[in-house]
């Protein structure tokens, strides 16, 4: 499936789609979107790249095995879940929010970090499954 059109297009599409996935992740708290969908979109971006340029190429772009996203994501989600216990003596999963909105990102709270964890886990899990299957098929 290595057509020249898809190849050329995907070189531009990959960064755009990744940016879009981050956009979906960040808007999630106020508008449709969120970590799960964002993660899926990012995974699709990489899979598209793999279709166009070959799996090896995508792996080189990624530098690390996608599996490593999973523990990192889980750790971020877990830390943000226990952060109220650690920092504020509140029950597990209580949302902590910064008082002043950050430029560009808007209001930042522990929920955003939790969602980022979800985002990373979804990318990691989806890509691990797809890469593994396509390598062994």
């Amino acid at each position: 499936m290595k057509t020249i059109i898809l190849k050329t297009a995907s070189n531009y599409l990959l960064p755009v789609l990744l940016l879009f996935s981050v956009f979906i992740l960040l808007r999630g708290h106020y508008l449709p979107g969120g970590g799960f969908v964002g993660g899926l979109v990012a995974a699709i971006a990489f899979v598209l790249d793999a279709f166009a340029n070959g799996l090896q190429n995508t792996k080189q772009v990624l530098k690390i095995h996608p599996g490593f996203f999973m523990p990192v994501g889980l750790a971020i989600a877990f830390l943000s879940a226990i952060s109220p216990i650690l920092f504020a003596d509140l029950p597990l999963m209580t949302g902590l929010w910064a008082h002043e909105p950050v430029p560009v990102l808007g209001k930042i709270g522990s929920a955003l970090f939790f969602d980022t964890g979800v985002y990373l886990v979804v990318i990691g899990a989806a890509l691990t499954i797809i890469f593994t299957i396509s390598e062994s098929a």
Partner: protein
């Protein structure tokens, strides 16, 4: 007290990291832990015998009433002293017995894990934490029995023991939950005040039977006794410590602890007396047929445990005094005999009683210890055993069924006398065979512990007041609110009890000189193995395995379509059954939204795609058509204002199609693998599931709507969680724990796929 329980756990965990430096002679240092704890508990004797009760409580899961509460009273003090006292000697003994063993550190780790769990068990005042410690003792016992893990027999015995005691653990959990339900608390001391409520409750019998099951499995009562002789595969220090002195007494402890709560009923007395009596006599008779020293000791241990259950069943004050003294007696002589057996085994390499003679000439201090241990075991004055035996007769004589119970007790005691002398005296008498002449006395670390214990047995016998003030009186105070004073004496004057005692000694002596342990006897009794509880249980487990094989073979045959058919078929059965009795299709069509033209167009598209999927000849075309169905679905979500769902459905479908393509890409283009019959079957299954789900959803619309939850989220999403997208707020905040677990599941699934496929690749490479 928490520190006392924790120190063993901490030491065991520490050994994981520093174990490799602990295999040498330095291992003996670990004995400082039980010795220190022993001193700690000794130090409490004064207070406890003066009537103090030390209570400590730490919150664990207060919302479920589960706390780490510990109570040190007369009963738990006796057990704690036994655990740490015998523990100290066993720790010392092990240093010499397993000297240079390459897993010595591991052994000490298991031992101290066990000691900590056992201490936790007897000190716990909360039934749930007691259950946790109870299970920990079973698990450490499993590791210790299977310590020689390259022997198949050891591994099997460990499994049998874990199976039986694990079953008991489950029963204990059931009993604990039921008692908690009846009394509204898991604290044992609070249950004590509600004894009347509990014994009058309709579930009393069930609760009592569950507790009996727990105690009988742990304390090796008939018909669950058979794991204990098997557990003798463990190294001798383990048999000494776990399977004679402490762990097997956990069941007895449980019955002791709960006799003020559950006792004094007909069920309690009848069950405990009959099971105890059967166990004590059955296994005492088995002693005659054994030639392995540890086998003899195992059966006499079971018999002694039977006596204890029997005495608790009688339940009078005299019986409970007898039981508490007999616990001390048994721990002292049985642990010594086990250690002595260990020395003999270690030096001669055999435990066959028919081959062992004359060892007194080479192992004199051991022979002395063995002789005294036999005296205590047989109840010969002036040992504490004599006091213990008198108390047993005192208890049976004053029970409701005096004659029968006394005769049973005499028969058991005479056989125990025989067993004690065979194990403690016989190996040392007679001529020393040539092959044993070169034996040297081992390190004092090995022969001093039994000697210390039997000396204690004699001292207690001469001065029974020591036992009276330290154990017997405080325990009786725990059991009875208005307890009488306990007076233990070695000499009661000439009376019936003394006569019975003399009779026991006479019968025992005759048995010792008449009966010789031979292999013929052992072969004779093994003919009856097929009706023994052990064989029956093993057969049952084999049968279960066979059944599981058949069952799994049918339901888990590895074909994905088979699994799917079963799951779908089962759902159809359930739903069909439900709808069969409640079938009415009066749907309020007016309440449904109006159907628009573009909806009809999309449904048409889906139907065409489905028909194409079913009848196409190409795999890839089928997958693409399935994708069309999925995308059409996400359009529906969009129409009904669920953009989140639409987005997710769209992405998931994209990835699914890609996955399918990846898997199917390399397969040959469609072959007709299934015949029409199967295709029709699958078609009927799919259509009926679809039809049923449709009916179900239409019926759901008829149900009255509960908008309470929706309103709550809508109202509070921004107020509490600063978010305007309710779906996302639910995911990351209100039900964030669910999401946490879901992403963990996702990780597990990905790792599973990765592991399965990579593993398969590797085996392929090897070929």
């Amino acid at each position: 007290m928490l520190e006392a329980v924790l120190v063993g756990f901490i030491f065991a965990i520490l050994l994981v990291f520093v174990g490799r430096w602990f295999r040498g002679p330095i291992a003996v240092v670990s004995a400082l832990i039980p010795i220190g704890l022993f001193v700690y508990f000794l130090w409490h004797i004064g207070g406890i015998s003066a009537g103090d009760v030390i209570y400590e409580s730490y919150r664990w899961i207060p919302s479920f009433g589960v706390n780490l509460s510990f109570k040190l009273d007369g009963l738990s003090l006796l057990f704690s002293l036994m655990i740490t006292g015998v523990g100290s000697l066993v720790f010392l003994y092990t240093a010499a017995y397993l000297k240079g063993h390459k897993y010595l550190d591991r052994f000490y780790g298991y031992l101290s894990l066990f000691m900590a769990a056992m201490l936790g068990l007897v000190l716990s005042d909360n039934l749930i934490s007691m259950f946790v410690f109870w299970e920990l003792t079973s698990i450490s016992s499993f590791f210790l029995i299977g310590f020689n893990n390259d022997s198949k027999a050891s591994r099997q015995s460990a499994l049998v023991a874990l199976g039986i005691t694990g079953l008991g653990g489950l029963l204990l959990l059931g009993g604990a939950l039921l008692l908690g339900f009846i009394s509204g608390t898991y604290e044992i001391s609070e249950m004590l005040t509600q004894s009347d409520v509990i014994t009058q409750h309709p579930y009393y019998a069930l609760a009592a039977i569950l507790m009996f099951g727990a105690a009988f499995t742990k304390s090796a009562q008939f018909p669950f006794h058979f794991w204990l002789p098997g557990a003798m595969k463990a190294p001798t220090p383990v048999s000494t410590y776990l399977h004679s002195a402490t762990m097997v007494k956990a069941g007895v402890y449980l019955l002791f602890r709960f006799s003020p709560v559950l006792g004094q009923t007909e069920l309690w007395h009848t069950t405990l007396i009959s099971i105890g009596a059967i166990t004590m006599l059955y296994s005492a008779i088995h002693i005659i047929f054994r030639t392995d020293l540890k086998g003899i000791l195992a059966y006499s241990t079971i018999s002694a445990l039977g006596i204890l259950v029997f005495l608790i069943g009688i339940g009078t004050e005299a019986a409970l005094i007898a039981a508490s003294v007999f616990i001390v007696v048994h721990a002292l002589y049985k642990a010594s005999l086990f250690l002595i057996t260990g020395i003999i085994d270690h030096e001669t390499g055999t435990r066959d009683i028919t081959k062992l003679t004359g060892l007194r000439k080479v192992l004199l201090p051991v022979a002395i210890a063995g002789f005294i241990a036999a005296l205590i075991s047989g109840g010969v004055p002036p040992s504490i055993g004599f006091v213990g035996k008198d108390l047993i007769y005192e208890a049976t004589l004053h029970s409701n069924n005096a004659v029968l119970l006394t005769v049973l007790a005499i028969a058991t005691n005479a056989l125990l006398f025989y067993g004690g002398f065979v194990a403690g005296v016989k190996p040392f008498m007679g001529q020393l065979p040539k092959k044993f002449e070169k034996i040297h006395l081992p390190s004092p670390l090995m022969w001093l512990p039994p000697l210390i214990m039997v000396t204690a047995g004699i001292i207690f016998g001469i001065a029974p007041g020591l036992v009276e003030t330290t154990f017997a009186q405080p325990i009786v105070n725990v059991m009875f609110t208005s307890a009488e004073d306990v007076h233990l004496k070695l000499w009661h004057g000439f009376n019936l009890v003394l006569g019975l005692s003399a009779l026991t000694l006479a019968v025992g002596t005759i048995l010792y000189f008449l009966l010789k342990p031979t292999h013929q006897k052992e072969t004779f009794i093994s003919q009856f193995n097929f009706i023994a509880p052990k064989d029956l249980t093993l057969k049952l487990s084999d049968g279960f395995e066979w059944f599981g094989h058949i069952w799994t073979g049918y339901f888990q045959n590895g074909y994905l379509r088979h699994y799917l058919s079963i799951v779908v078929g089962f759902i159809i059965l359930l739903l069909g059954y439900l709808l069969l009795f409640d079938f009415d299709l009066d749907i309020d069509y007016a309440s449904l939204a109006r159907i628009t033209v573009y909806e009809i167009a999309i449904v048409l598209m889906m139907v065409i795609a489905i028909i194409f999927t079913v009848f196409t000849k190409s795999r890839l075309a089928a997958v693409a058509a399935m994708g069309v169905v999925g995308f059409a679905f996400s359009l529906f979500f969009l129409f009904y204002s669920a953009p989140d769902l639409a987005m997710t459905q769209f992405s998931v479908d994209t990835l699914t199609v890609i996955l399918f393509v990846l898997v199917l890409y390399k397969l040959p283009t469609y072959l007709k693998l299934t015949n029409d019959k199967i295709r029709i079957k699958h078609g009927i299954l799919s259509l009926s599931l679809g039809g049923l789900i449709t009916i179900l959803i239409l019926k759901v619309l008829n149900e009255p709507k509960n908008t309470e939850i929706t309103d709550f989220y809508a109202e509070n999403a921004y107020k509490l969680a600063h978010g305007k997208n309710i779906v996302n707020v639910i995911l990351v905040d209100f039900r964030g724990i669910d999401t946490m677990i879901e992403i963990s599941v996702l990780v597990v699934a990905a790792l599973g796929v990765f592991g399965l496929l990579k593993l398969r690749l590797k085996t392929k490479d090897k070929k």
